[in-house]
């Protein structure tokens, strides 16, 4: 329990450091931000008025403190450009990205375990497919795979929509169909990475003495593989999955662009380009919380799987 509290405190520290660093990097552009908000025709007077209105004339620490105080009360501010509430924007965007990432992650876990285990145990063509997939997934960027998928399955065969996202509460079937291609585009690279990790871990475990002992005792091979070998090999796999989750958050930016999905990546990208500080801070905050939560969950998972790591 104490290690969990320590992890939480560390996480809060990381959140503060990262958000302050982000805030500081964007600080000092007050006239530029005001000019961008008001447009090309803005007069010096209206720029100065906008600076005051947005509070950009205040010192860095005051601005950051105001932002943190807002975060604590659940107020992330409003976009400088659209006046949209950041919380509302994130509540629309985060579910899209999380759906994309978690669906990909779940499928990655299933396919990676299956492929990794079979590649390690059976060898032969399955092993070669996994290795080939690994090279393909590493070498070909997700957005290229996405473009190929769109051309084949949306433009040529019209099986799935080429773009767009339908919220599940509006139409469950359309929601599912709108995610098939984006998830597939992310899945290939993700499976490639995790499956090879699981394959390597399985091969490592299969050479261990305890496996030989189990087999010598005549225990069913399936029990040996899935109860003992896979459980011991799962920790590296889980770590690889947590890293994949973080990588997927980055990869989603491009996939959201190709499929015109209204996710957090698009929002972060667009906001950063125009220095929409409240929006950037909101997306950074959510991203860092997601990353830290993933790491924490991975640590807990590894601890549950491997009692030795608890110490």
């Amino acid at each position: 329990m104490s290690s969990l509290i320590k992890s939480l405190l560390r996480s809060i520290g990381v959140v503060l450091v990262v958000t302050f660093a982000t805030f500081a990097l964007m600080y000092g552009n007050a006239p530029g931000i005001a000019q961008s908000v008001l447009g090309l025709s803005a007069s010096p007077e209206s720029i100065q008025q906008k600076i005051m209105q947005l509070g950009l004339d205040r010192p860095l620490l005051v601005q950051y403190w105001n932002w943190i105080a807002g975060v604590v009360t659940g107020d992330l501010g409003r976009s400088y450009y659209t006046s949209e509430s950041v919380s509302k924007a994130l509540s629309n965007r985060v579910p899209v990205t999380l759906t994309l990432v978690l669906m990909t992650l779940g499928l990655t876990a299933i396919f990676s375990v299956l492929l990794g285990v079979f590649a390690a145990v059976k060898g032969g063509w399955i092993d070669r497919v996994v290795q080939w997939l690994s090279v393909l997934g590493t070498a070909v960027p997700g957005y290229v795979i996405a473009i190929v998928l769109v051309f084949a399955f949306a433009v040529m065969w019209r099986l799935f929509p080429a773009t767009g996202y339908v919220p599940p509460h509006r139409n469950l079937t359309q929601w599912f169909m709108s995610l098939v291609l984006p998830v597939s585009a992310l899945l290939i690279g993700a499976v490639a990475g995790v499956a090879t990790q699981i394959r390597s871990a399985m091969l490592d475990m299969l050479d261990r003495d305890f496996v030989r002992t189990l087999r010598a005792r005549g225990i069913d091979e399936r029990l040996v593989l899935f109860r003992h070998v896979l459980r011991n090999a799962a920790a590296p796999g889980l770590t690889a999955l947590s890293l994949t989750m973080i990588a997927l958050l980055g990869g989603a930016v491009f996939i959201e662009l190709v499929f015109a999905l209204p996710g957090m990546g698009q929002l972060a990208n667009a906001s950063a380009q125009i220095s929409d500080v409240p929006m950037v801070m909101g997306t950074v905050l959510v991203t860092i919380v997601l990353v830290l939560a993933t790491n924490l969950l991975a640590d807990i998972g590894v601890a549950l799987l491997n009692p030795k790591s608890r110490s």
Binding site: M26, N29, P31, G32, I33, Q35, S36, V37, L38, G39, L40, S41, A42, S43, E45, S46, Q49, S79, Y81, T82, S83, E84, S85, K88, A89, N92, R93, I147, V150, F151, A154, V155, R158, L159, F160, P161, A162, T163, G164, Y165, P167, R170, T173, Q174, M177, S178, L257, V258, F259, A260, L261, P262, Q266, L267, A270, Q273, I274, S275
Partner: protein, 501 residues
């Protein structure tokens, strides 16, 4: 038939295929003609009425009305005002509001709302344009807006005001738009940043000119995605990159080629304050002569452009129909001019660049051609919040930019050539232009056109710019769903909402 047999697998694949096609069919199904679905290559700017660019802003056109609308050459068209008059030496605009107009929240449109809407613009980027207005309301339907000085771009100022209820403006709540436009936002069906859904405002005074019962605007920023969405029927119309022209045509789409931009060198340091050579007109003329405009139109713009020697669009008041290019492509002549001016060795230039300005196409050619007269160009990428203020700061003596050629050429003169114009980067006054600008403010249409053409000829002779071609955007649409018989956009970048029929 057992699981795993070829027959079972065959049936499974067939069933899965049919199911997939049925489901996909329901996903891709296009609704009837009552629906117009437009692709937008950029998201909208929210619902603050004072911060609404014209480019692809069908959402703003949908929800808000204006007193009058500007047409493709800056003239006025009826909207909330059923009649209007410009008087008092171009100082006063008097409008008579239509009776029984209502906002989308059900409240009646009152003159106080019109007044508040113009007053609200004093807080916008163009606040200075609206600061000194005096309002008069002689009766319940009539309002006069008066400026202390004659207004050369009065039309533009009137058209730019979106009319909202004064209570909404006072509250400053921009979550849901309230207006009296031809459509009403369906907030529940809208996904901000992705899909904006509107229903027709059947109470709109001109509902018959907006034939679609429902309007959907889908934000699709990547060109490839926009093309896929158009060719698979997810959207009815969108801007596409010139490189995608053949793809969309092959898919049966029709294309409108807008020529709303004139990419050019803006030679702003004409006094030679930063680079003395630029103060010599011969150097500026030489810079014009190193560009083979016909070759640029054909190769850089793939034939979707027209060579030009002037920056004002065809059909505008300032455009000179029979203007011959005084600076035909002639590198030897350009070198002679540089030598005559005493700058045969050339000079260094820094060009600011930003994404979205087609620099990947333009800059290599421009840099190479200027090098022929020993003008050495280095690129200074601008990004982030300071990009625009850096660009407009005047610190760059020459800027390479795809500047618009507005249908209201007086507005273009104001923006580019008068001392206050934001694209007159050094903000240096000029007696010839400023004198004529004052006259334009009170001139008749014919006199104004003559004065504008004098200004045009002057900036050509003085080589204020080095224009290359008229070019612009490529707008593709599905002719089975949409027709676009008119073009109302003064910026000539996309159709306006009222152009979709």
């Amino acid at each position: 038939m057992s699981i795993g047999t070829p027959q079972f697998i065959s049936r499974l694949v067939t069933t899965a295929g049919v199911t997939a096609i049925m489901v996909a069919g329901s996903v891709g199904a296009v609704a009837g003609k009552e629906l117009l679905t437009l692709g937008a290559t950029l998201d909208m700017y929210g619902w603050n009425p004072g911060n609404q660019p014209g480019y692809q802003n069908w959402a703003a056109e949908a929800v808000w009305g204006n007193l009058v609308k500007c047409n493709s050459v800056g003239g006025l068209e009826a909207d909330m005002a059923e009649s209007w008059e410009v008087s008092n030496g171009n100082r006063t605009f008097t409008a008579k509001l239509r009776p029984d107009l209502k906002f989308s929240d059900g409240s009646p449109v009152a003159l106080e709302d019109v007044k508040a809407s113009f007053e609200f613009l004093t807080t916008s980027g163009r606040g200075a344009d609206y600061e000194d207005i005096e309002f008069e309301m002689p009766d319940a339907q009539t309002i006069s807006l008066s400026w202390p000085e004659p207004q050369p771009i009065l039309n533009n100022k009137i058209c730019s005001a979106n009319i909202l209820p004064m209570t909404v403006l006072a509250a400053g709540n921009w979550d849901v738009p309230i207006g009296s436009g031809p459509y009403v936002l369906d907030d529940g069906a809208t996904t901000t940043g992705s899909e904006y859904v509107f229903k027709k405002n059947s109470d709109h005074w001109n509902a018959s000119d907006y034939p679609y019962d429902n309007l959907v605007i889908k934000v699709i920023t990547a060109d490839g995605a926009a093309v896929s969405a158009l060719t698979t029927g997810q959207i009815d119309a969108t801007l596409v990159a010139a490189g995608s022209l053949e793809t969309v045509k092959a898919a049966g789409m029709e294309v409108i080629q807008f020529l709303g931009q004139t990419p050019r060198l803006i030679i702003s340091d004409r006094t030679g304050a930063k680079i003395p050579a630029l103060g010599d007109v011969r150097v500026r003329q030489a810079m014009n002569m190193v560009f083979d405009k016909a070759a640029m139109a054909e190769h850089l713009y793939l034939g979707n452009a027209e060579p030009t020697a002037q920056v004002y669009r065809k059909g505008t008041a300032a455009h000179i129909v029979d203007l011959e290019d005084p600076y035909p492509f002639d590198v030897e002549k350009a070198r002679e001019l540089m030598a005559e001016a005493g700058f045969a060795d050339g000079f260094e230039l820094e060009f600011p660049t930003m994404t979205g300005q087609n620099f990947e196409t333009l800059l290599p050619y421009v840099r190479q051609q200027l090098a022929l007269i020993n003008i050495r160009v280095t690129e200074v990428p601008l990004s982030g919040a300071n990009a625009i203020s850096d660009l407009l700061s005047g610190k760059f003596p020459v800027v390479l930019w795809q500047l618009g050629n507005d249908g209201n050429s007086a507005f273009q003169i104001y923006v580019e050539s008068t001392v206050d114009g934001w694209w007159n980067l050094q903000h240096v006054g000029n007696e010839f232009i400023d004198g004529r600008w004052v006259k334009i403010a009170t001139a008749s249409a014919e006199e104004s056109a003559a004065l504008q053409q004098e200004i045009n000829r002057y900036v050509v002779d003085e080589a204020w710019f080095a224009p290359f071609v008229y070019m612009g955007s490529t707008y593709a649409f599905n002719p089975e769903k949409v027709s676009i018989p008119t073009q109302s956009d003064a910026e000539a970048l996309t159709p306006k909402l009222r152009d979709f029929q």
